[in-house]
């Protein structure tokens, strides 16, 4: 019986977005304010139940990126930025464009 070993399909194909977001997460400003035009806005909401964090990244670079891939890019960026403590307590991850955020009442 022939056996083929293949690499698993990656959860996303945008390492460029991971790197860009990781840089923002590493910078102090990235945690509190948009550093430049078109920079992602990262909202970390501490939850009242237990130790839990909801992360929303508002960024127009998400346009055309499927929702699940956005989430995978965000978690990869946290890992790349060495933010493992936050990763461990994340219970919800969401990436939205500015327009989507407006439509959904996220600010």
């Amino acid at each position: 019986m022939p056996v083929q070993r293949r690499k698993a399909k990656p959860p996303h194909s945008r390492p460029d977005l991971v790197r860009r977001l990781a840089v923002e997460l590493k910078s102090k400003e990235g945690r509190s304010a948009r550093t430049a035009k078109n920079a992602p806005l990262v909202i970390e909401e501490e939850q009242t139940y237990g130790r839990a964090l909801h992360v929303t990244v508002i960024w127009d670079k998400w346009s055309g990126v499927p929702l699940e891939e956005r989430g995978a890019i965000i978690t990869d960026a946290y890992r790349q930025a060495g933010r493992d403590a936050e990763l461990e307590i994340m219970t919800l991850v969401m990436g939205v464009t500015a327009q989507e955020a407006g439509n959904l009442g996220i600010s």
Partner: protein
């Protein structure tokens, strides 16, 4: 014998999941038919979405396939119109999984929440008393969300 007498008196998980499948195909039939039945299609697709979240919740809390889900519905704490509120059902499922130490994958939870927020912008059960012509994009969004819930149903409750 009337139609009401022929439907099951028990609202069970099995009935809900069968109804979800029936409503989906009825919505598809309306969506592709000539004569502008897209409002009916959107209306049914909203119910498909509601039923998909409810059945995921009932499966997660261990509802029997054939017994009435009444006690699980009571335990959800949802009352009146909240019982058709897509975002309320999402919150109940999401928080129940955390409370029971089996949270959803955070990426799935985010994608799920975003889709439900979009669906809730287009659909509430009050549509049955109203009329309008939905945009094709609105109907397509509801269809895409219903399809996603059907494809990913297991990850919502297991």
């Amino acid at each position: 014998m009337s139609l009401l007498n022929r439907v099951s008196p028990v609202e069970s998980l099995q009935e809900i999941e069968s109804a979800q499948s029936d409503r989906y195909w009825e919505a598809m039939a309306l969506a592709v038919s000539d004569g502008g039945h897209s409002y009916g299609a959107c209306y049914l697709l909203g119910y498909v979405i509601e039923l998909a979240i409810k059945s995921a919740y009932y499966r997660f809390v261990g509802a029997s396939p054939v017994a009435d889900v009444g006690r699980h519905l009571q335990a959800s704490g949802l009352k009146g119109r909240e019982r058709h509120d897509l975002e309320a059902w999402y919150e109940i499922l999401f928080s129940s999984r955390i409370q029971r130490g089996n949270p959803m994958d955070p990426v799935v939870a985010g994608a799920f929440k975003q889709r439900i927020q979009v669906a809730a912008r287009h659909w509430r059960e009050i549509l049955r008393y109203r009329r309008a012509i939905p945009a094709e994009s609105e109907c397509n969004e509801l269809l895409g969300i219903a399809d996603w819930l059907i494809r990913n149903h297991r990850s919502l409750w297991s």
